[in-house]
Amino acid sequence: MSGDSLHRRLLTWLLLPMLIVGSVVLWRAWLDARQTADRAFDRLLDAASLSIAEQAQWQDDRLWLDLPPAALEMLASRHDERVFYTLVDARGERVTGNADLPGIEGAAQEASDVVYGNVEYHGMPLRLGVRRSRLEDWRLREPFEIRVAHTREGRDALSGELFRQSLAYLLAVAVLSVAALLIAIRLALAPLTRLRRQIRSRDPRTLAPLELPLPRELAELRDTVNELLARMRRVKANQERFIGDASHQLRTPLAGLSARAELALRQDDPAIWRSALGAMQTTSQSASRLAMQLLSLTRLDNPEYRPELAPTDLVQVAREAVMAHWQRCQRADVDLGLEAPEAPVRVQGLDWQLGEALANLIDNACHYGARHITVEVSADPIALAVTDDGPGIPHERRLLVLRPFHRGEHASEGSGLGLAIVDGIARTHGARLSLGDARETPPPGLRVSLLFAEAVDNESTSAHTRSQP
């Protein structure tokens, strides 16, 4: 069992209160035992003082006592207590006795009442009983006091015995309750063991939900696990579809290449070979581009992928992208423009990823028949946007186009990965991707913009660069 376990926690937090309660009960039992013993033995003091008091009389003008030996023997049990007695007259003077026993202050005034107290006499702890009485004589009613005391051996023995009995009783109860506790904890934790066994005995490849009856607290855990499993099932299905689509996509240009090569080999004309080779180059370029895109998409989709972002100037990125695509667009008779402020707009980002995103967007715009494409950079809010005057995307399909391999209805070229890649890049940069209409009048065109959360302060950037020699 490890250092921290539910079993141990439960035991600790159940046993600790039990221990405290047990100590309180024991303490109480000790007090009770003492009290009971005192009560039992105080009767001896009572009886002895009574039988002495009965012998007190008035004789020869003084208080007189014929001490009954039995009264003293009454005070000694088989534990051989030491015995002391004193007869004190109304003036508080000792008439007779074998010790100067003290009185008890504030004792009850009523006759025939015994007051008890614990006193120390010559270093011996004594239990003292004081009886106030008076002579029942015709002529005079002289008050007097009988004080009797004995040592505590008998009391201690009795209270010890009583306490031992309570202790034995309490120990038995404790043993029983600890046993019950252990069984109860074991029973209460049994569903946890069942759950663990069920999980362990599952086929490691299966993502089927857990089916077993559990108490409420564990049922919640089971449902949470089942939700996680369901999510994993969906992710797995997505991945399988993505792989299917990707292989399908790669197979088409490869098959085209193979057919084109076969066709060219049947001819003898080098001119035809040349044109075939040119076509094959184009196809293989697009295939390799597709492979590149798949690769970057896979990387972007990996939740573990956390690239190191650096301060990047959006204006610079946009300018480079326009320069890279300007010639091709020119040939396709597309007008590619740039709208950007003079000052640099810096964000935390990766310039090559942002360039890739712009490339994809420009490509997409070209594919879907835009004539004017504008790359925009704005400083407030910080955004990077590509606007075209193509057919646009209807509202209801805007979420779908972000999924890999989804293509517009009429499109014939392109992989369908472009917007998915842009989405992945936006997520990497913590930016929000939004699709919108470019114009009010049809065709609406498309405006794809990346809204960045916050700019990188120029000051802090320079400070950052300075700190790196």
Binding site: W64, L67, E73, R78, R82, V95, T96, N98
Partner: protein, 399 residues
């Protein structure tokens, strides 16, 4: 004051015993000094002027052998001839102890302890109430050894106070009287003789004076507790003009000289040895009942040599020590496993119902109660003299 120091090489023992035999002819050393002045039995309260008074004692010493000899001081009310066999045997077994044994009267040994509580290692006395009083007040230390734990509960108190002898109180009767009037074996016989008109015992009886002898008072109070008929006996004794004396020795001397025919309440252990050579006297353990005195020993809390004291108590209660007591024959061995002459076991067998050992219990404290004593003595005087006696007169008398 008799003070004798005896250094005892082992080979001088025989001559020593012979010389000590002379002492037995001296007046009873243990109970004899109950003079009227000191005999009230209340040295604590009644006689503060006695506190500084030097107590008379006999002394015997044994030199310890070996390099490291430990001292052992015993203060006792037990005559040296009776103690000597025990001391010799103990010294033979533990020769490295230097023993100083001092023999006092019962009241003096008590007073000596109160004057110098740190002087003696062991205090021995037959005055049971006085010994009990001291131990009850916490003056003794507990001796917890295997031997003291095995000692019968009725013969010890709190592991502090130990009884080690068994000494019946007896009558000594002259055989001439018995030849004339028949055997006197019990109090009933005695009372019968006393009840006769013109009793032949008139003036022929002797007993303790309870007013001036501590031992006599102790027997009187115990007998009065045992039987109410005791007072009939006291009255009868009074009518017969019984002589009152203070010591066993005085009673036995009177018998030997033919002044008395019966001595009532004599300490059997002393009487047995002294009448052994007198065929005219017979020792009678009354077969109705006989009080039994048990000598008590304790170790004071402030004993200077507690280890030696513990060893000696262990010896007193051991089978070895008790066998020495039994063989000496006078004191009576209390050890429950010993049997034969001189043991309590044998005496109990001979008198199955009659022996009444004075119990070791708080009742002894009542014996020492001043008012109780005054009251008892008043009653005793009244019964004895067959007339009401003013208790104040008794008090004055006891002082």
């Amino acid at each position: 004051m008799i003070s004798r120091t005896l250094a005892l090489p082992p080979w001088t023992v025989v001559t020593l015993v012979a010389s000590l035999a002379l002492w037995s002819l001296l007046p009873d050393a243990s109970l004899a000094r109950s003079t009227p002045a000191a005999g009230s039995g209340f040295p604590l309260e009644a006689h503060p002027e006695n506190a500084s008074q030097q107590q008379a004692y006999d002394e015997v010493t044994f030199e310890g052998t070996g390099e490291s000899s430990d001292a052992l001081v015993i203060h006792a009310a037990l005559d040296i001839p009776y103690a000597l066999p025990l001391l010799e045997d103990f010294h033979r077994r533990h020769p490295h102890y230097s023993i100083t044994y001092r023999n006092f009267s019962t009241l003096d040994v008590h007073q000596r302890f109160l004057d110098a509580p740190a002087e003696a290692d062991v205090v021995i006395s037959s005055a049971m109430p006085w010994q009990y009083l001291l131990v009850n007040e916490g003056h003794a230390q507990s001796i917890d050894t295997a031997i003291t734990q095995r000692w019968p509960d009725t013969a010890k108190w709190r592991q502090e106070l130990f009884a080690f002898t068994f000494e019946p109180i007896v009558m000594v009767v002259s055989r001439r009287l018995e030849q004339r009037l028949g055997p006197v074996d019990s109090r009933a016989d005695l009372l019968g003789l006393l009840a006769e008109a013109r009793s032949p015992l008139l003036g022929r009886l002797v007993t303790y004076d309870p007013a001036s002898s501590g031992a006599g008072y102790t027997y009187a109070i115990e007998e009065s507790r045992l039987s109410p008929r005791y007072w009939d006996l006291v009255a009868a004794l009074g009518r017969a003009d019984t002589a009152l004396v203070n010591t066993t020795g005085a009673m036995l001397e009177g018998l030997r000289q033919g002044r008395y025919d019966i001595a009532y309440n004599v300490l059997g252990s002393y009487a047995r040895e002294r009448i052994a050579d007198d065929p005219e006297l017979r020792l009678v353990i009354p077969d109705d009942y006989a009080l039994v005195i048990r000598r008590l020993a304790f170790v004071p809390r402030q004993a200077p040599h507690p280890g030696a004291a513990r060893r000696f108590i262990d010896y007193l209660l051991s089978a070895d020590g008790q066998r020495v007591i039994a063989e000496a024959g006078e004191l009576g061995a209390l050890h429950p496993q010993l049997d034969g002459p001189g043991t309590a076991t044998a005496m109990r067998r001979d008198f199955p119902d009659g022996l009444r050992p004075i119990p070791l219990s708080p009742g002894l404290l009542a014996t020492l109660d001043e008012l109780k004593r005054t009251a008892l003595l008043a009653r005793w005087q009244r019964e004895f003299h067959d007339q009401p006696v003013d208790t104040r007169a008794v008090e004055q008398f006891s002082r």
